[in-house]
Symmetry: C2
Subunit: 438 residues, 2 copies
Amino acid sequence: MDKTKVLAKIAPSRSETASARKIARDTQNSLERHLPGNVKTALAGSVAKGTFLEGAGDIDLFAVFPKSYTKEGMFKKLENAAKKAFPNAPRETGYAEHPYLRLFLGGKRIDLVPSYKMKPGGRVKSSVDRSQLHTEYILGKMKPAQRREVLLLKQFLKANLLYGAEIKRKGFSGYLCELLVLHYGDFEKVMEAASEWKLPVALDPEKHYGPSRAIPDFKAPLTVIDPVDLTRNVSAVITRDNLGRFILLSSSYIGNPSEKYFFPASMDREELREKTEGRFFFALCFERPDVVDDVMWGQLWRVAGRLESFLKKAEFVVLGVHPYATESSCLLLFELRSPVLPKTQVFRGPFLDQHQHISHFIKKHTPPFFFEHGRINAMEDRKLRDISLAIDRFRKGKNFPSHFQHLAQKAKFFAVDSIIEDYPLALEEHFMVNWVPR
Amino acid sequence: MDKTKVLAKIAPSRSETASARKIARDTQNSLERHLPGNVKTALAGSVAKGTFLEGAGDIDLFAVFPKSYTKEGMFKKLENAAKKAFPNAPRETGYAEHPYLRLFLGGKRIDLVPSYKMKPGGRVKSSVDRSQLHTEYILGKMKPAQRREVLLLKQFLKANLLYGAEIKRKGFSGYLCELLVLHYGDFEKVMEAASEWKLPVALDPEKHYGPSRAIPDFKAPLTVIDPVDLTRNVSAVITRDNLGRFILLSSSYIGNPSEKYFFPASMDREELREKTEGRFFFALCFERPDVVDDVMWGQLWRVAGRLESFLKKAEFVVLGVHPYATESSCLLLFELRSPVLPKTQVFRGPFLDQHQHISHFIKKHTPPFFFEHGRINAMEDRKLRDISLAIDRFRKGKNFPSHFQHLAQKAKFFAVDSIIEDYPLALEEHFMVNWVPR
């Protein structure tokens, strides 16, 4: 495989980089003119580190305040400075742990984040404060040639829906990509190492821990100790599913490196029609609730998990679940082995000497009962025999978190044809995330 | 419930008892005339103890030899004596732990068992030797009124296919019935106690063990220490299934004592047809191999267990298994939820970081694979989709113990109509053993 060919497509051009840096610098200068003298701005994130993918050069600026400011005071000062410096730029307030300002200037998204001045090892007040240290750490450690390796890793992950630590994805953050490349050396070595990971895996790039001080158990399948904060696991958010898929992909890549891992062919509707032939899919389609992404995705995943458990308990064989969203809709896409179940259902009961449980079971179920290796079981006509009945029942239960509650009744049940018509990408992602080969 | 009415049906008449005892005494006298002077005969078993059910008064006689005789010598002497004493009586040789002689005299089956003279606590050489001690123990302990209670318990068990310690039944021996009545006092008290048993249960009627010497763990759901041999569990053979069913029956009986527990109505073919309507049964029907009962039943149960596991592994829902035999045939009767399974089958695979297992799994199964909570799974067209295919496959495997091997290919597959026609009792027993209410 020719890495240069991949890089040619994913690395920003010299002029794209220069322009991003220039916009950042200009913004910093304009802002600082309207900020108190003891407040400095600093470029952070992937533009600062030179590790952004082509087209992804959005700008993160920190406004670094002395500790004497309150959170509210910092935001106020920053907002006023932005209003004065860029009176005409579209502006919105975003909320992460704390409010920050988002501007749109010269076609770029610029996040202005109020933050306290940090010293390495100092007590971090928020993840925002920590980001300054991350930028400094990477800038100090990374060889220029390694930046291309980070790009390869990011693209590999992005193409396989594993890139991004936000709740939507629960994948690999940009910072984690940088740390992995630093730790293993380059992209290929990350692939080689990951293809042999046996979970749980724990990495401690800066050797904060050692023979006399064991790495704490973060109860995560992958632990990467943050070089700038030894109490933090950089990869805490990654799910076991995503990690497993990363391991499998790494191992296939090592076996047969190919550009397809970076640029998978997309499927058109015809292809999706063929692929879904004889299989069963449905989607529950909600209006998108008007809340910030992380909250929406957190709740969408929660409904997905509940519906999955509900269907499994009703004995449907669930082959895949994929939550998906556009700007206006949220989808829960499911693949089942079959939309219909056998007429009767078996309920496993207690052992025959569990007197209390036995009487409870006998009251709850319909006779006759049958025995099986010392237990009593019931067999009854199945109540939720097909998927539409099951979904109706699910809707009636208390299964929807706050922002979906009022949307549940209006949610539409989509069969596969409508999914292909209206949300082909949801299906394509499902095949990528839940099947191999997709 | 009127116990007297039950007893009127199950207790032998005065004349039946007298006649059994007379036959026993006459046989003893005739035999002893042809046996060496130092060999005595003794009546044992339920006739000796006065605990036999009406019509079940077969006679067990022990010929008690001095220790100087060999096993073979004892049998030879006994056989010669029997030949001389009853030259015209039909005679056969039976095999338990050791050979014994069976005669048919005056419409009774008489077992003549060679045995060494035992003293209580003496080292038992075989279960036959122990039987003498059992008879002596029960005769010494049991009040005459308790014999009726033993009859009630035996009939209760017999009616529910729980009576008999032979491999066919794996239920309660006559001696165990006697011990339970002695231990708890009477039939009702046995029922009350059993209805509250929480397994494992251990009883030690003669208090061989105590605070300073715990009852050994026989790894059985029910342990009853033999009063005449503290190293033996009288109820070792009872299965957890049978015990569970006994507990459940005791508890129903306590809730609503009724004669139906002693004399369940039998089902005619019409009733069986109604009952089997809309359900799925099949039987695998073998010629009965020409071996002693315990060996035949041991092997029949083994095939039953293997076929059950095989069908469950193939994902059939097994609702009941009942091995059954007549004089000429053996049956494996099965009830399944359905004779047909879904077109596809899901194979659960290893977690994605189990590299060796993953490559093995991927080689063994057909792509595509799907992920589920960190595992890889395969979905393939099912190979054993209906029961006749499954049975064919089972027949081809190494699933048949010695005496069934040559019979497996000729075994017939019976559908429910043929079962009702030819083996209605097999079905009736199945409903009794595997269903409640049947």
